[in-house]
């Protein structure tokens, strides 16, 4: 064993990690080698010296500073954790933002829709119309206004239902089979019965008394009974009923709703559009100009207190453009028959402008 080998093992000697064989070899070498004995002695002294090194004491401010920074950080962390903790908040914020953008985009699209339609040049609309009609299946045309009506406001739908039933009743002047009366009409009838009677309705005391509790209290049997009223009676009552307000208006101006128009949707009747606007006179002027611009003419104009009724004659291929224009002006209800009635000057369209 050389001095070099021993020197490497000397440091381990004190640790007691050497085998007996190694210990013996080192001891025998040390007996014969003075320099290795000195090396071992120096190593022991080094160990003692290092272990004898003093400890330094921490300054009093160390703990204070550490805790000041820890508390500062704890406050910040508490705040940040609430708002920006990566896993719990970031993702929801992003998801929320995505949803928000989608909602805003949808709203922009929806509110912008009428404008988009206006932007489309009339020629294109006419072209589209021609393509539709050339197929000679007028039924294809029907879904358009129907769909439009469906997407309109709830009141629009209910009013449309109110719109049709009164006419047959007035015409027939007799009891109607209850199967053909729309659900809504039934409800209206019931509602009218439920309304506290006016002096003129004293003739039906039983119904008034029973149904005062409200529409919901009206049973099916009552509805059945409500039907056979003489035509004059329900008319009078419907006028008083809030639910039947629209129907009442309709009946108050018989000239505005000739029987033929009330049968809208049947073959051979004139198409009709009802427009609700803030200023009927202004709207009428716009429509008249538009009809003229589209090569048609106004054959008749009836003016009453809050409404103007225009009868327009316009080329079949221009009808769609006119409809588009009127739709863009306000709340519109349309009733277009399957086959358009052609007059001498083209198609006849009745446009009723109501001032709200």
């Amino acid at each position: 064993m050389t001095c070099k080998d021993v020197e490497i093992l000397l440091a381990a000697l004190a640790e007691g990690v050497l085998s007996d064989q190694e210990n013996h070899a080192i001891e025998s070498h040390l007996r014969s080698c003075a320099s290795c004995r000195k090396a071992l002695a120096d190593l022991r002294k080094t160990g003692e010296t290092v272990k004898g090194l003093g400890q330094v004491d921490p300054p009093p401010w160390l703990k204070t500073r550490v805790m000041a920074r820890v508390r500062e950080e704890a406050e910040q962390k508490g705040f940040l954790r609430k708002f920006f903790y990566p896993l719990h908040i970031k993702v929801p914020i992003q998801a929320l933002a995505t949803v928000l953008i989608a909602v805003v985009a949808w709203n922009v699209y929806k509110t912008g829709e009428p404008e988009y339609k206006q932007i489309v040049p009339p020629a294109a609309v006419q072209e589209e119309q021609r393509v539709k009609t050339s197929g000679e299946s007028p039924n294809i045309e029907k879904p358009a206004p129907e769909t439009k009506r469906e997407t309109a406001s709830k009141t629009g739908i209910s009013e449309q239902r109110d719109f049709a039933p009164p006419a047959p009743r007035r015409e027939g002047q007799t009891e109607l089979p209850k199967t053909v009366i729309p659900e809504r009409a039934k409800a209206d009838e019931a509602a009218s019965v439920a309304t506290p009677g006016t002096p003129g309705t004293a003739a039906v005391p039983v119904k008034d008394g029973e149904a005062v509790g409200g529409v919901s209290a009206v049973g099916p049997s009552e509805k059945k009974e409500a039907m056979p009223y003489p035509s004059g009676q329900p008319k009078q009552k419907t006028r008083d009923a809030a639910a039947g307000a629209y129907a009442a208006k309709k009946q108050a101006a018989p000239a505005a709703a000739p029987p033929a128009l009330s049968k809208a949707g049947q073959a051979g009747t004139a198409p009709e559009m009802t427009l609700r606007v803030g200023n009927a006179g202004e709207a009428s002027d716009v429509i008249e100009n538009e009809v003229k611009r589209l090569g048609g003419r106004i054959s008749e104009k009836q003016t009453s207190e809050n409404r103007i009724i225009l009868t327009a004659r316009i080329g079949m291929d221009r009808v769609e453009a006119l409809r588009t224009k009127i739709r863009s002006m306000g709340d519109v209800r349309e009733s277009f028959p399957d086959t358009m009635r052609s007059g001498a000057g083209g198609d006849i369209i009745r446009i009723e402008i109501r001032q709200d």
Binding site: A11, L43, K45, V50, A74
Partner: protein, 204 residues
């Protein structure tokens, strides 16, 4: 003196650590109080500078606080904590080394030799110097010799011979197998012995 700093048998910090992990900031003060001296001494022996050591100990405590939730009790808290201060010390040494390359050298800086570096400042040989003064000078010289050791030798020497940690604890702190810790330690002792003999001569 070293005996008092011997290995801790059970983790007395467990409860306090749990309180910290639940968000009790004040509980951390207990841990700082308990461990600041050892933290500072590890940093001091690694860096050889009191001011730097205070700074590093402070940073180490702060970074322990930040990651205390990730402490999983696989080791004793103290072992985990001292591992942090050791890493901070090593990083600081790198920074200092980077800085000193651009700074003018002090005449007291160790001289770089082929077989390592040696402190240039030699202790006063005056016979009349007071014992206390001599002891201080002696300590300074020893510290300089420690400072001159390569990083991997220095840390094992500081942890084992100065701080008295077990091989197992040192292995956890340095993420090294015990065998490696031992062989590094023996090599570190041999190198340090040579340096001390060179610097102190007969006074060792």
């Amino acid at each position: 003196m070293i005996a008092a700093l011997g290995p801790i048998i059970e983790d007395e910090d467990a409860d306090v650590v749990l309180r910290c992990q639940r968000g009790e900031t004040d509980a951390f003060e207990v841990l700082v109080e308990r461990h600041q001296k050892r933290m500072l001494n590890i940093a001091y022996r690694m860096l050889g500078d009191y001011e730097e050591a205070c700074d590093v100990a402070q940073e180490a405590f702060l970074s322990a606080y930040r990651s205390i939730r990730s402490f999983r009790r696989q080791a004793k808290f103290s072992t985990w904590l001292y591992g942090i201060v050791l890493n901070h010390s090593k990083n600081r040494l790198k920074q200092i080394a980077g800085r000193s390359r651009h700074e003018t050298r002090s005449i007291d800086d160790p001289i770089e030799l082929k077989n390592g570096s040696v402190s240039r400042q030699v202790a006063d040989c005056g016979e009349s110097a007071a014992d206390e003064l001599e002891k201080q000078e002696m300590e300074k010289a020893v510290q300089r010799c420690i400072d001159a050791l390569e990083g991997e030798y220095r840390e094992v020497l500081v942890l084992r011979d100065i701080q008295g940690f077990s091989y197992e604890e040192i292995g956890v702190m340095l993420k090294l197998p015990e065998g490696t810790v031992k062989s590094r330690l023996f090599r570190a002792r041999a190198v340090l012995k040579d340096r001390l003999v060179e610097v102190l001569g007969d006074r060792l």
